[in-house]
């Protein structure tokens, strides 16, 4: 078989940027027409024979992740067509190394510093002047007393569902905060709370939270550990189980708090069918419309995260809410400025001045880096 070193078909090897090392980025250019596959070969410094290093996908780019940091390599590729093959190779040795900073995340770091800074400043300010903080009314949290009270009057238990995520989810953690408040009210009113769980770690946390809530309400004896139980790790199995509990126990109040998926409406509609007062809250934006349609009160996304501050009125927590609100305002202003400048840039570009559009695109690229 005859092979060709054709002009144009080339290979470039570079240390993969922003990684933990152990990877070299291979890029091929001007792949010959009719290429069926591209074979990659590698020669470590000091070796005499090229070893096979896999295949390069048709787009012509791949990462060689089987390299050793610090060892220098030469690369060769063979583009195989039906009747011949073409070869290209690197001229200089290249080695991989780990990086100390992922530059694609610089915008995230900037945002984190600014946002974290604002939140911390407001926490400090709140400590100095606790009276100067206002938090708007959240009807869903105000309705907790009403829901638990109504349920107690009817002689029915309260059902609390903490969603389908683990304890690492921010929504689940926020639901634990709300559970504490619900637990205290249930203990004070002498009612009962049923807490089925999807995740055993959440179950253990909920047991401890309710135990503390009952103790703080002066009714440690009223807490029944068995009312907080594990159900299943299957999504629709969990939905079926909770639906069954709703239909058998007929709770007077249902709290759907946490991260939910497609089962949200199944749970909320079953709760509606038994006439329970329903207070939902989720950080799953796709499920919010279902809860709004089927529940009496809903905590919309971020309102869940404000629950602890709203309930406790602790200045430091209120300060962090105010800080994040200010950051939100800043983002809103940035979006507004972006829209105005973007529109102006497009108009200028259409009028024959592309420089503003160039600036606008560069800014967009810089911001979008953080998605990498």
């Amino acid at each position: 078989m005859i092979f060709f070193l054709i002009i144009g078909f080339s290979i470039v090897a570079n240390d993969t940027p922003n990684d933990a090392g152990g990877s070299i980025l291979i890029t091929t250019y001007n792949i010959p027409e009719g290429t069926q596959k591209i074979e990659l070969y590698r020669l470590a410094k000091g070796d005499t024979i090229y070893e096979e290093a896999g295949l390069i996908p048709p787009r012509g780019e791949c990462e060689d992740v089987s390299v050793v940091d610090g060892v220098e390599y030469l690369y060769r590729v063979r583009a195989i067509t039906e009747d011949t093959f073409y070869v290209a190779e690197t001229k200089e040795f290249i080695s991989s190394s780990p990086q100390w900073f992922n530059r694609t995340r610089i915008t995230v770091l900037l945002f984190f510093i600014l946002f974290g800074g604002v939140v911390l400043v407001y926490i400090e300010l709140a400590k100095k002047n606790p009276k100067g903080l206002f938090i708007r009314k959240l009807p869903a949290l105000d309705a907790i007393d009403e829901a638990v009270g109504r349920s107690t009057e009817m002689g029915k238990p309260v059902l609390f569902v903490p969603g389908l995520e683990g304890i690492t989810d921010a929504g689940t953690l926020a639901s634990i905060t709300i559970l504490e408040k619900v637990g205290k009210r249930v203990a004070e009113y002498g009612s009962r709370v049923i807490h089925p769980n999807f995740d055993p770690i959440v179950m253990t946390t909920a047991q401890e939270t309710l135990k503390t809530a009952f103790s703080e309400a002066g009714r440690p004896d009223a807490f029944n550990k068995d009312d907080v139980f594990y159900l299943t790790y299957e999504q629709f199995g969990f939905a079926a189980g909770v639906d069954g509990i709703m239909l058998r126990e007929k709770p007077g109040a249902i709290f759907l708090q946490g991260y939910f998926y497609a089962e949200s409406l199944i749970l909320a509609e079953t709760g509606y069918s038994i006439g329970a007062i329903q207070i939902a809250g989720t950080n799953a934006t796709t499920q919010l419309p279902f809860f709004v349609a089927a529940c009496d009160y809903v905590l919309l996304g971020e309102e869940m995260f404000a629950a602890s501050a709203y309930i406790s009125r602790e200045p430091r927590l209120l300060g962090s809410i105010k800080g994040s609100d200010l950051a939100k305002l800043a983002i809103l202003c940035l979006i507004g400025a972006g829209v105005i400048f973007g529109t102006f840039a497009v108009i200028a570009n259409n009028a024959g001045n592309p420089s503003y559009l160039g600036i606008f695109n560069r800014v967009l690229d810089f911001i979008a880096r953080g998605n990498g």
């Binding site: 933990a20 780990p98 939140v119 068995d226 919010l288 279902f290 709004v292 939100k328």
Partner: protein
Amino acid sequence: MKKRVPLLITFITGFIVIVSFFVPHRPFGALETETLIWYSIILGFTLLIGVDSLVRLHTRQIRRKKKGWWYSIVFFAGFFYCLTIGIISLIRTPNPFQPGTVFFYGYETILIPLQSTMFALLAFFVASASYRAFRARNLDATLLLITAVIVMIGRVPAGHKLWTRLPGIANWVFDVLQMGPMRGIMIGVALGAVAMSLRLILGIERTYLS
């Protein structure tokens, strides 16, 4: 001490995870994956706690002959069935989820159809919830009803037959009217989650410690 140690662990872990997000160099780069592996291992053990909770609950239901106690018998039948065929499949093959094993057969012919049935019920629940939400009681509900009708008809071939521009209007409702508020809520959720994470790392938010 009872609270300080967990708070210190939370602070150190949270700080390291933040650093590992920006620093790919060893040992930080691999920490995120490592912690996820740790979490999976811990979760594996806590599942035993879950099973213990479940078995105790249903044993009590049967012993006390509580309302619907026979469902607990169904639970035990399913539990021991899965356990037995799981062990048998594990002895016969290294992976019980491999097609052809008894365990996989049970999974495919019992569990998946049951889950699909529950999922299918969603269609009826969507219909009943939509009926209530779309009743034209006031101006807001009427606007919602009109928008919903446009979107629903615009999404089916009959909508295109009725008026060729209807699918385009439905798409505009999705891409513009709906997307704006949705993005607003998403930004709020993201910022709220970051603020909450900061509160947890700094030990301001302590509810999870009970």
